[in-house]
């Protein structure tokens, strides 16, 4: 075996455990879901194997699913924008801080040590009728009756931002860390103000991290299930809740499969759009590669 052949094989050998895992745990189950989406649920709850387009027809033509999908994308978009607006200054502060960077990064990672569900439920103790904010406002005499703050769209976005903000900050931080700070000084020495040097130099160079964080936040927010269940109001359901209902409550695995593939296709299309405008290479840059 020549050195060239061995070198050509080496990446595949190294990649093979991951490829096997991805094939077994992702590709094959996904193929099962594709097959399931063409089956039918019978009245007794059992599945009828075959090739039926009924589920796809329902998923693609029923306005109910379209509306919930649009609502889901809207919530995901608002969450992503909020994460970007809140995350950029935080990431900038960490990247430019001296001495206590490790501590700040540790603080950023701290929420990951607590279960996502517990973190989401913590808002009930903060925003609830007898929660911290209402209790303080009442004890200060600012209000006499508690304000109803929970169980609406705002609390869903709040819960999602709480969950996703660290992902955004980390992506932007990695991107900012890769920028040579002397470039900003050079811009200033050429007459730019600090704000102009940020807008003209730092922001464009960190856009890859912002975009990578944005993509990650959007995809995770669009696929969320638990946040609307815990923090949403009576009509605040997102698309993943429909998939859950179809598969678990209605035992309609074929329709649930079609719906989950529909969400996958929409989010996949988003990644393709990202790839078209920024390229996946930018995503790698954003992740510090």
């Amino acid at each position: 075996m020549t050195i060239e052949t061995r070198e050509a094989r080496q990446p595949w050998i190294l990649l093979s455990p991951s490829l096997v895992a991805i094939t077994l745990l992702l590709v094959i189950p996904l193929l099962f879901i594709v097959v399931y989406s063409f089956w039918l649920r019978t009245a007794t709850g059992a599945d009828q194997a075959g090739f039926f387009l009924d589920n796809w027809n329902e998923a693609l033509t029923d306005a109910f699913y379209r509306d919930i999908l649009l609502y889901t994308l809207k919530i995901a978009a608002i969450t992503t924008v909020a994460c970007a607006l809140l995350g950029y200054p935080a990431a900038y502060f960490i990247a430019r801080s001296k001495g206590n960077k490790a501590l700040l990064l540790l603080l950023l990672m701290l929420p990951f040590w607590i279960s996502y569900i517990i973190r989401t439920m913590s808002w009930i103790n903060i925003l609830g009728v007898s929660g911290a904010i209402n209790s303080i406002l009442i004890s200060l005499g600012i209000i006499s009756e508690p304000i109803q703050m929970l169980y609406n769209q705002v609390t869903i976005v709040l819960g999602l931002v709480h969950f996703l903000l660290p992902f955004m900050i980390l992506n932007i931080y990695v991107s900012l860390e890769g920028i040579d700070v002397t470039l900003e000084d050079a811009a200033c020495s050429l007459g730019a103000t600090r704000w102009q040097s940020f807008l003209e130099v730092t922001l464009p160079l960190s856009i890859a991290g912002l975009a990578a964080g944005g993509l990650l936040c959007f995809v995770l927010a669009a696929g969320t299930y638990i946040t609307p269940v815990i923090l949403g109001g009576p009509s605040d359901a997102m698309f993943a809740n429909l998939v859950f209902e179809a598969i678990i409550t209605q035992l309609d695995w074929p329709l649930g499969s079609a719906l989950s593939l529909m969400l996958l296709a929409v989010l996949g299309a988003l990644v393709l759009v990202y790839n078209h405008f920024l390229g996946m290479g930018q995503l790698m840059k954003g992740l510090g590669k």
Binding site: T44, G45, G233, S235, A237, T249, Q250, L251
Partner: protein, 379 residues
């Protein structure tokens, strides 16, 4: 048919000239390969018969089962009980659907309609009742409804019962007002933003039937039912999805009224919360059972069911979860706490409770669960 018999038959067909030599050797080779592949797993499967898997709601119920039934059972039989939990009956049936035969054995399921669903999916077994002598203590009415579904046989033993009635905060709603309004309390416009509801299609349709003065087991005007569900939805703060969430919403005074599970309300009352509980006329009665899934080791399961039905176990579980046991109070002394539990029937006839008719509910399941899902989301 065992493997030896299969090989003998193959050999007989080969000797008779029905199989050529190549096919015979090919089939023997394939059988050998299958044996080689299957044997390690067959060993595991055999070992699995030395244990029984039980799935339930967890918490105090599991603790009581462990102490009063599982440990004594293991001590007597040497069979280990693997104790699992699930969040909802719907979630569990999905797990069963995705499992291998024999993987799950006994489950603490709710409602007769779940029993009928399992039957429709071909997941029922047939219990040998002679192996469960403690079944004699169970209220006959509770077993009869299961027998009707499975042609006189049983795939489960009844275990406890309760109601889904109306819970209300006495600081804001008096007992008189709750009694006067009954199920219509949950569509009272004055309580907008202070009502909760369980996001379960059956419960919603049941209560909407009561709110529109219809028989919950035979509603004839479904448009009125859907409209009542919409009215209720528009007044809600939230659809709750678990007992813990229900208790939190009531205890924190986020909501003043909701339909609620009798045992959970009793637990709140025990904690000192001033929560009233009302079973309106034709309120939702239900029972839970210990269901044995098809392909389970039957004798081992039957023996375990007998331990679980023993009065000491049943009473301990009932006191833990605040739901009366399925034991007939005319045959068994149920102690001091159980007679105080909501929904408890001292006569053992359960004539005061209305149970769901499984034929009616399961016959509409596909259509109604989907329709409710849409209405719940604002449609």
């Amino acid at each position: 048919m065992d493997n030896s018999k299969r090989y003998e038959r193959l050999l007989e067909r080969y000797n008779n000239g029905d199989l050529d030599r190549r096919s015979f050797l090919g089939l023997i080779g394939a059988a050998g390969l299958a044996y080689g592949v299957a044997t390690p797993f067959a060993k595991q499967a055999l070992a699995a018969t030395e244990q029984v898997r039980f799935d339930g709601w967890g918490g105090v119920v599991s603790e009581a089962f462990r102490k009063y039934a599982f440990d004594p059972y293991t001590k007597k039989t040497g069979i280990k009980v693997v104790d699992g939990t699930f969040g909802s009956g719907d979630e569990y049936i999905s797990r069963i659907k995705a499992s291998q035969p024999g993987e799950y054995n006994i489950a603490h399921l709710s409602g007769v309609f779940d029993y009928a669903r399992y039957n429709n999916l071909g997941l029922t077994s047939v219990l040998n009742e002679k192996n469960i002598p403690n079944l004699q203590f169970v209220i006959p009415k509770l077993t009869d409804v299961f027998r009707k579904v499975t042609d006189g046989t049983l795939s489960c033993v009844p275990y406890d019962y309760g109601t889904t009635g109306i819970a209300y905060n006495r600081k804001h709603i008096s007992d008189e007002e709750a009694k006067k309004k009954g199920a219509k309390l949950l569509i009272d416009k004055e309580l907008k933003g202070k009502l909760g509801a369980w996001g379960d299609w059956r419960t919603r349709i049941w209560y909407a039937s009561l709110q529109t003065d219809q028989d919950p087991n035979n509603a004839t005007d479904m448009d009125a039912v859907w409209n009542a569900i919409r009215t209720n939805r528009d007044l809600l703060l939230k659809y709750w999805s678990s007992g813990a969430e229900l208790m939190s919403l009531l205890a924190e005074e986020e909501i003043y009224a909701t339909e609620a599970w009798s045992g959970r309300v009793y637990a709140l009352q025990e904690q000192g919360h001033d929560i009233g509980y009302l079973d309106p006329l034709n309120g939702f009665g239900w029972q839970e059972c210990l269901f044995v899934i098809k392909d389970s080791p039957m004798e081992a399961c039957e023996e375990l069911l007998n331990f679980m039905l023993a009065p000491a176990t049943s009473i301990a579980v009932a006191e833990g979860q605040n739901y009366p046991p399925a034991l007939d109070p005319k045959k068994v002394d149920l102690g001091k706490k159980i007679p105080k539990l909501p929904a408890f029937d001292p006569t053992g006839t359960l004539d005061g409770l209305t149970f769901a008719n499984p034929t009616y509910w399961n016959g509409h399941e596909q259509e109604w669960s989907k329709e409710f899902g849409r209405i719940q989301k604002g449609y």
